[in-house]
């Protein structure tokens, strides 16, 4: 699911760095050393401070990738000159302001570290995506939940995935609170 992308609602106009280190509280050292391939709307990004996210943006994050292509697409990589010049977005598009939906995709080695951060802030699933994600969850996964609430009401976590209201909703907002195991 996180490969295909989940939606977060944030203030439009965040730079990539502000979203990651501010909103998601990603450690700056982790950002520097581990998030080595970044795409904004399919274009490889080098400067995280000048790349501004808008309503409808897609942000994809990956670790350093192998191959010549991986090196070419790497953030601030020395082979960046071998990229193609991707046309700039419509310059007449509305400027970034207000709240916006940003699709975030997480790939490979970053999944374990970044997915919990996203879930803690909350992510939006479209109906089809929720159905697919919930169908893929095993009983063992559901047993890992200490509790669950749906619109403020407590429910059995094991019933979440089969819940009809959730299945029919156009969007599902999911947040997960992580508790350290004693």
């Amino acid at each position: 699911m996180f490969q295909r992308g989940v939606v977060i609602k944030v203030r439009a106009g965040y730079t990539v760095r502000e979203l990651l280190c501010g909103y998601l509280a990603v450690d700056p050292t982790f950002l520097q050393n581990r998030i080595q391939t970044v795409f904004h709307d399919g274009k490889a990004v080098d400067d995280l401070d000048s790349e501004v996210l808008k309503d409808g943006s897609t942000l994809a994050l990956s670790a350093a990738m192998p191959g010549l292509a991986g090196a070419i697409l790497r953030r601030q990589g020395i082979l960046g000159a071998l990229r193609s010049m991707v046309p700039a977005k419509d310059p007449t598009a509305p400027s970034a302001s207000g709240e916006g939906r940003v699709t975030v995709k997480i790939f490979n080695l970053l999944l374990d570290d970044l997915v919990p951060l996203l879930l803690q802030q909350g992510v939006w699933f479209k109906r089809d995506d929720w159905e697919e994600w919930s169908n893929d969850r095993s009983l063992e996964f559901l047993r890992g939940f200490l509790g669950a609430t749906l619109e403020g009401q407590e429910i059995d976590p094991r019933s979440l995935m089969a819940n009809e209201r959730l299945k029919k909703a156009a969007w599902v907002f999911l947040t997960v609170t992580f508790t350290a195991h004693p």
Binding site: Q3, R4, N33, R34, Q36, T37, F39, G42, K43, A44, A60, S62, A63, A64, M65, P66, G67, L68, A69, G70, A71, I72, L73, I78, L79, G80, A81, L82, R83, S84, M85, V86, P87, K105, F107, N108, L109, L111
Partner: protein, 577 residues
């Protein structure tokens, strides 16, 4: 070290001679194969004729205790491109051949009839035996038969039915650690040349194979320690590749809009997440396979894996990025099990997965099957194994298939199919595809070290000219690495960590007692490329062959709607040094 020459057309039957390396002393891998082919093969000869030679050469460090040194090079005049070819493979044979003292095996001449031969190499003995019972065996059955005949302490180099039928996409298979024929010198039809020589299998006995000893053991040990340390600490070689294999690239290249889809029509594939490295690793692990595995002993990157079917039974080795793309997205197939079966068939019949994926994609465009029809793709491959008329067309690659079915969008350079990166979306790859001596090749311009980039003058990466210079330097460095027997994936660590690149040079120096510098590595790479370019020129290649197909300049590639814009004049400057 010694060279084993086998004249398959000698009077009275095939004849083996063993001689010192002579003028090829100090050469290995691609350095040796290209030097020998350039010197001894008439550039205008027919690739399937008696004058062509098939050179199988371990690298300079193969057979030593150096990590990652188990690669092998197979060189000849290519039946697919008509130019010089070096195809590279992993597996066990490189280490064993080198430890038995062989710097190269050279198959020469051609038998007068269609007798099939097997060759058995032991420490001090070579046996060549006619064995027509091996005819049309797939590589898996063949290797099992050789194990029954020669025991378990063997490693095999073989061709499948495709090589016997001299198809231009035929590969040479090398057995892996588990003695399965899963590693291939895939590109350029090297298997067809082996088939033309009448050799079905070379069986190499491990008995008596001894680790090659360095001239300066302590320095060698220290260099190897630093080399291994560098590989382990790098995030690509130490983490991403072991965890997910090369297919970790699928999501990235797709995101970049460079993932060729439906025969290079589109740059993104809707089904990518279903066939990504992440999904593949999870599937393998859930089924009791392996997501982390080495193709040869001494590999510490471990980018390979084992793919089991739904019942937990072995099906094939973990399909790699190129294979999953070629037989997946390029054909609009989004099912890993189908792709795994296609990979298994390619390994068994002995055909290049990249060429086959491109070929099936062209065939789909030509209406032979529908895009996305996995069952149809499997049936097309089976036609190759059976040697039907359709199978013979397909088995000769994308260019031939495109011609037969009247397809315009045929993604080949010098007759060889493009790999898994659309050059419109990654222009620098396009420069390498167009100008490489090997035809469209994603590994030709792969390796770089920061100091190599600065040798010969500083390159400004922001200028368009930078792309030409970078591609040139990448190709030079790659050619040098290919000569060492090292897996090219060391390049990621050597690119970022100068001390790791220095450790590689130190390994060579300590083993041979040399005093190489980075400049010498550059010189080696240039020498190899010069030999190859020279051969190709004599074979009739001109600047016209250093071009991408026209459609890359004209057809905009979604989602970014880009075309390939590097000018021909710029491409012609790649080899100016």
């Amino acid at each position: 070290m010694k060279i084993l020459r086998i004249n398959m057309g000698a009077d009275g039957g095939p004849k083996a001679t063993v001689a010192p390396m002579g003028e090829y002393e100090g050469m290995g891998g691609r350095g040796l194969t290209s030097a020998l082919v350039a010197k001894e093969v008439p550039p205008l000869c027919h690739p399937l004729g008696e004058d062509n030679k098939l050179v199988i050469a371990p690298g300079l460090l193969s057979g030593t205790a150096a990590a990652m040194s188990g690669r092998i090079s197979v060189g000849c005049k290519s039946p697919l491109t008509g130019g010089i070819k070096e195809a590279n493979s992993g597996g066990q044979p490189s280490q064993i051949l080198a430890r038995l003292g062989y710097g190269a095996i050279v198959l020469e001449g051609k038998p007068p009839d269609n007798t099939l031969y097997k060759i058995f190499i032991q420490k001090d003995k070579v046996q060549i035996t006619a064995d027509n019972s091996l005819r049309m065996l797939g590589n898996y059955d063949l290797v099992n038969k050789m194990k029954k005949e020669y025991g378990d302490k063997i490693t095999c180099i073989s061709i499948g039915p495709a090589g016997e039928m001299k198809m231009s996409a035929a590969s040479v298979a090398f057995t892996d650690i588990e003695q399965r024929p899963t590693r291939h010198a895939g590109r350029g039809g090297v298997g067809a040349v082996m088939g033309a020589k009448g050799v079905k299998v070379i069986v190499v006995s491990e008995e008596g194979a001894e680790l090659r000893q360095p001239k300066e053991p302590e320095k060698f040990k220290e260099a190897n320690r630093k080399f291994v340390e560098g590989l382990k600490k790098h995030p690509v070689t130490g983490q991403a590749l072991p965890a997910y294999g090369t297919n970790v690239l699928a999501n990235i290249i797709n995101e970049a809009g460079a993932y060729p889809t439906k025969n290079f029509l589109l740059g993104r594939f809707d089904g990518t997440q279903k066939i990504s490295g992440e999904t593949q690793a999870a599937t393998e692990t859930a089924r009791g396979g392996l997501a982390t595995h080495g193709c040869h002993r001494g590999c510490i990157i471990q980018c390979s894996g084992v793919y089991n079917d739904k019942n937990g039974q072995y099906l094939t080795k973990q399909p790699e990025y190129e294979t999953v793309w070629a037989l997946g997205a390029n054909c609009a197939i989004d099912d890993l099990d189908t792709i795994a079966m296609l990979d298994r068939l390619c390994d068994d019949y002995g055909v290049d997965t990249i060429e086959m994926g491109a070929t099936i994609g062209v065939a789909m465009e030509g209406g032979v099957a529908k895009f996305g029809d996995g069952a149809a793709a499997i049936n097309l491959l089976k036609e190759i194994g059976k040697g039907t008329a359709l199978g013979r067309i397909l088995g000769n690659g994308a260019a031939v298939t495109g011609k037969v079915f009247g397809v315009e969008r045929v993604p080949v350079v010098k007759g060889q199919a493009l790999p898994a990166y659309d050059p419109r979306a990654v222009q620098g790859m396009g420069v390498t595809y167009a100008t490489s001596t090997m035809g469209a090749d994603h590994t030709a311009g792969y390796a770089v070290a920061a100091n190599i980039l600065k040798v010969g003058g500083y390159v400004d990466p922001l200028k368009p000219e930078g792309q030409i210079d970078l591609s040139r330097n990448l190709q030079i460095a790659t050619a040098a690495v290919d000569a060492t027997g090292m897996c090219l994936f060391i390049a990621f660590a050597t690119m970022d960590q100068p001390e790791t690149f220095q450790a590689l040079i130190d390994l060579l120096n300590a083993f041979y007692g040399w005093k190489l510098t980075a400049d010498d590595v550059v010189a080696l790479g240039k020498k190899i490329l010069k030999l190859e370019r020279g051969f190709n020129a004599l074979a009739g290649f001109t600047a016209k062959q250093d071009r991408l197909p026209d459609f890359f300049k004209k057809e905009k590639l979604p989602p970014h709607n880009v075309t390939f814009t590097v000018k021909d004049e710029a491409l012609d400057r790649v080899f100016n040094w």
